[in-house]
Each structure stands twice: as C-alpha cells, then as structure tokens.
Symmetry: C2
C-alpha cells in the first residue's frame, strides 16, 4: 500500500453521536440556547473530530507550501515568476501579511518549499520538500509526473504526521505560487464541471488581456487533458500544482490524525476539494476559513458544503484567511470548554 492509500484507510467520518452530545452540552452552558451561533456549530464539530469534550486549541499551526507553475509561460499572472522565491524569503524574514496575521493570532507558521523554480538559499526556517523545480506548462503537457505528484503528496502527509507528533491540535494551510490561481481555476473547472468563465478571476490582479490569456490557457489545458481529468488525482497531476499536491496530502494527513483543519482561500480550497474527492470521509475534518473574491472559490465551497467562517473580501492566500478563522475556532473551543454551566454558576435557567 502507498502512504496515500494507507492514510485514506485511516480516515473515517466523524461520529454524529458526538455532535449530538456536544449540542446537549452547549445547552447547559450559561447562555441562551444557540446564542453563540456558528461558534457552537464549530465547537460541536471539533468535539466530534477529536471524539472528546476536552478540546484544546493551544498548539495551532499553519503550514504554507510554495511552488512554481509552468503555466506562467502563457502570461497568466500580473507578477513575474521570480516573485514566488522572493516572497518565500519575505516569509522567512517575517515581512509578509501571513507573518503579521499569524503573529497577532499566536499561530506558529511553517514554510515549505514544495517546488519553487529558483534556488533558495539554505535556511533553518525553511522546510525543503521539493518534488520538482516547479510544474511543467500544462497547456503543453501534464503539470507533473506520477512520481512527482506522489512525492509532493507524501511531503504533505509527512508534515501532517509531524504536526500531530508534536501535539498540534488545530491546523491551517496556506500557499504561495505565482500563477497558481490559473492552476486552481483549472482544477475547479474540472472538479465542478463548471464552464471556465465561471471559475476564473483576476487572481493577484490580472488585467483584461491577462485574464483572457488565463481563460484561454485553462480551456486549452482542459481540452488537452480531458481523458485524464476524470479522476481527482488525474486532475491534480495534469493541471494542478506541486503546492496543491502537498496541501492535498496535508489535508488528508490532518484528517487521518483527527486534527481540525482550516483551509484558506481559492488555491488552498482547491487542494482541500481534491482531498475530499480522493477521500470523501475527510470532509468532516475541514473548516472553510473565508470566502475570497475569486469566483471559483464560492463554487468549491458549495461543492464541499462548507460555509465560510469569514467574508472579508480578501484574496491574498498565504494562509491569511486561515489565520483569522483559526482564532474564531479557538474562541469556539474556549467557550465550549471554559464556560460555567447554569448549575455550577447558580444562574437561573428559563
């Protein structure tokens, strides 16, 4: 059995009896029934994920996977490809948005080179799990080989196992990769069977010409790879990205280790959606951080049946939405575990 197959075998849906039990517990806490709204629903699902009321969210971690995309050769991004490596260095020096947001939320950030094209200087802060030096241009050939895809998936599995082994109890994901909204749009079109125009947005800021090139590249790629795009792993291999493969593995690993995972924006959610298509039972372990302004994001969330925790018109990736939403998950868990009951606090119930 491959590591991926082994992981899938470890994943089982959460037991709905835990959700029911958590609902009953919520009624004992000193608040009107249901008055914490979505916080209650989040805590209840966390109880089912952990199969415990003794929930913690004391060791939250975001893992950010960076990689490059061969499809950049088609002129699909407003930024040059070198920005991927430059932003990785920015993450390592603490100058990016995710550093500020994870910092203020008290969330540990791990940065992974999952296949950045340019060489990166050695750094103790950087986890190097490169399956390749970026993907191939998927308008001309498959984005990656079978071996590259499995190597990238397994990097994600390994990092989830490592997070579990050090006691991480809440995980988030992030990504960086110039051109990766194009890959995520191709994955989304293939997964949801929606027309390309419905799932393509301006990414980091494509102008009209760039947007037209993006649409054309995706349409050509989906036509070229149509026979392979009937399975989620075929989609991932042909039109996905190395960071998406690693993220997909990381999501599945989190589910196997029964750790709640908060996804992020469009690209991260495309990887989560691939994980769910590969293993439908994993869906119970995932929370949608936010809904970005990328049009494909909403379609993915609808397919997953996940209601975003936040809607703040963000479209940055990096795990920035995850960082904000993980704080909400922590709050939900804090209320569930720390609140007094009507009996213990001697508060009159209705």
């Amino acid at each position: 059995m491959t590591p991926l197959e082994k992981t899938i075998q470890q994943i089982s849906p959460v037991d709905p009896a835990w959700i029911e039990a958590a609902r009953r517990r919520q009624l004992e806490l000193t608040k009107p029934p249901g008055s914490l709204g979505r916080l209650e629903e989040i805590a209840n699902r966390c109880a089912a994920i952990r199969a415990s009321f003794a929930l913690t969210a004391a060791k939250p971690r975001i893992v950010l996977f960076a990689a490059d995309h061969g499809v950049c050769a088609e002129g699909v991004s407003a930024y040059p490809q070198e920005v991927t490596a430059q932003m990785v260095l920015n993450f390592l020096r603490g100058g990016a948005a995710i550093n500020a947001l994870a910092g203020v939320a008290g969330i540990e950030l791990k940065v992974v080179d999952a296949g950045v094209a340019a060489g990166l200087p050695h750094s103790e802060e950087l986890i190097t799990r490169r399956a390749a030096a970026g993907t191939k241009n998927f308008c001309k050939e498959a984005a990656m080989t079978e071996l590259e895809m499995h190597t990238a998936l397994e990097a994600g599995l390994d990092l989830a196992a490592e997070a579990a082994s050090v006691g991480c109890d809440l995980l988030g994901i992030g990504e960086m990769g110039i051109g990766n909204t194009t890959a995520a749009s191709a994955v989304t079109a293939a997964l949801t069977d929606r027309p390309v125009d419905d799932v393509v947005g301006r990414g980091a800021g494509a102008d009209d010409d760039c947007l037209a090139r993006k649409r054309s590249a995706i349409a050509r790629a989906l036509a070229l790879h149509a026979p392979e795009c009937r399975s989620p792993l075929g989609i991932l291999r042909c039109v996905g990205g190395l960071e998406m493969a690693s993220l997909c593995g990381f999501c599945l690993g989190a589910a196997a280790h029964r750790i709640p995972l908060v996804t992020d924006g469009f690209i991260a959610t495309a990887a989560t959606a691939l994980a769910v298509k590969v293993c439908p039972a994993s869906n119970d372990y995932f929370f949608a951080a936010h809904q970005s302004v990328e049009p494909g994001h909403g379609h993915l969330l609808a397919m997953l049946g996940l209601e975003p925790i936040l809607k703040l018109d963000m479209r940055l990736g990096e795990g920035t939405g995850a960082a904000l939403a993980m704080k909400i998950v922590q709050a939900a868990i804090a209320a569930f575990t720390q609140m007094a009951t009507f009996t213990s606090a001697a508060v009159s119930n209705r």
Copy 2:
C-alpha cells in the same frame, strides 16, 4: 458646560487625507493591491482615527455595562430578572462566554454595575457606577430621570477617559441586562422610524406569547413617550436603559479620545447609534463587530452605514462579538504596521 457637552465639543470627524495616505501606504506593502480586502479599509480608518501610521492595538479592552430594566414587569423576557445579577457574578468568576472569548483574544475585560436591581456583593473586580437600581417600567413612566440619565452617561465618559489614561488603544463594548432587547427595540424603532414589528426579535429566546408582550410593551411605550422621542436623549431617557446610557457615554468618550471602538450586538449598537445621533462626527470612530440575528440590528447598522466585520449568527451580547472582531482589527493593524514593502523586501512589483 456639562461633561457630555464638553465631550461632544472634543469630537471632530477624522481627516479623509489620512485615509488617502494610508491607502497609498497599503500599495507599498508586499501584497497585491487591495488583497487584504476589509482589513485594509479597517487599518486605513484606524490610521485616520489615530492620525498616525504608527498604529498599535497592544492594549485592547472591553467594558461591559450591566443594568436592569423595569419593563421586565411586562413579561418581555424568557429569563427572570435575577439573571442579570447572577450573570454579573458569573463574569466576575470567569464563567461566561465573554470571559472565554476575551481570554482567547488577549483582551482585558472590565465589568461595570450601571444599575443592577439586586444588590451585588463587593468585589475588587466590579466597577460600581450605579445611577439607579434599574430603570422604571417605561410602559408607565420614563425609564429614567434626567439626573439618572446624565449620571449613567457620565459613568461611560469617565470610563472612556480612564481607558485613555492607561493607554488603551482599542476599545470594545458589551452589555448584560435581562429585558434589554426590549429597550433596544424601542430605541431602534424611535431612531429609525421603523414599525415595531420590524425591529423586535426573540432576544434571549422569547416564545410567541412573550414576543407578543414585547411588541405590545414597545408600542405602548412609544405612544406614551412620543413627544419626548423626538431627540436622541429623549429616546434614551424614556425607553432606553442605564447600561445603554453608559455605553452611549463610553462611545462618545472613545471618540473624544480618538480611540477606535468596536461595538457589539443589538443593544450595544443601539447605544452606539444614540451616540451618533447625539454627535454625528463620532461615527468615524466606530466599527461594527458583527451582525446578530436580532432583526433590529441590521436596521441600526444600515442607519449608521457600518458594515459588520463578522456574521456568525450570534445573539448573546456581553461583548462576545466585539471580542472576536477586535482580533480582526488587531490583525488589520498588524498587517499595516509590520509588513515589509516591495522595496525593503526586494520583491518585484508588477
């Protein structure tokens, strides 16, 4: 000049030039333009409020005002009035939802007795600023006297001044008071000129009979006090609450001291709306934490032109929405102040 008049005189609208300057600064930070969505808008307004780019949110505080409501005699709440005092004790012991949420967010919580009917045992943790032992039943007479209203308003002004004097740089508000959604609904109907049915909800969980009594009580009160309800302070005095008067004062005090203030749910927002009606320039200093499920809340937010930061179907009050949203404001400020620029990080711009 009264303390209230003095405070109003100190409040001036923010300078839009600061918002423009902050927008330009955002463009230099290592992210696609506008990609942090509402976080950018929040940080830009904070820069205008503080008239500075050196923003901090290191000393956040929520002040929670509790008081009782004479209108409870009309059977408008699902809970007995004694719950107000019981919940204050719960706050002081750390067992309520706001304790858990403020705790996880690292926000200081101050609890104020602004007029709880039952006597509360002395506690060093409790700030006692009682203008009266609860309001009168506003179906029969004005909720409070002029003196009581000004005493309660001034408690809020004083607590805002105290927060400013110890360096609080981000404020939130919360409230507790059995029956106070009835008062807030009456205030909302009077402020927005909407029919009673549009602004009355189930509060902490009114059943159909209770809801009918609530509507009837509000309609009778608004008819009784119609001549006085032409000014915001008339509305506050006749159909408001002591906690709402203190909250109104606290909002105005925050604006006078140029501290960003995050409002909370329906009752807190009714107090914020009163503050804005008393002094329209104060509106620039306020952020809407969330939109609760109380129908009147949306009408107040629309009147104020405030877009809620969160929508989590909450309806608890206590400052629980403020605690969550203040974390988003802190994140917005952290991104604005801590991110590298394209130049400093040597990241290629478009």
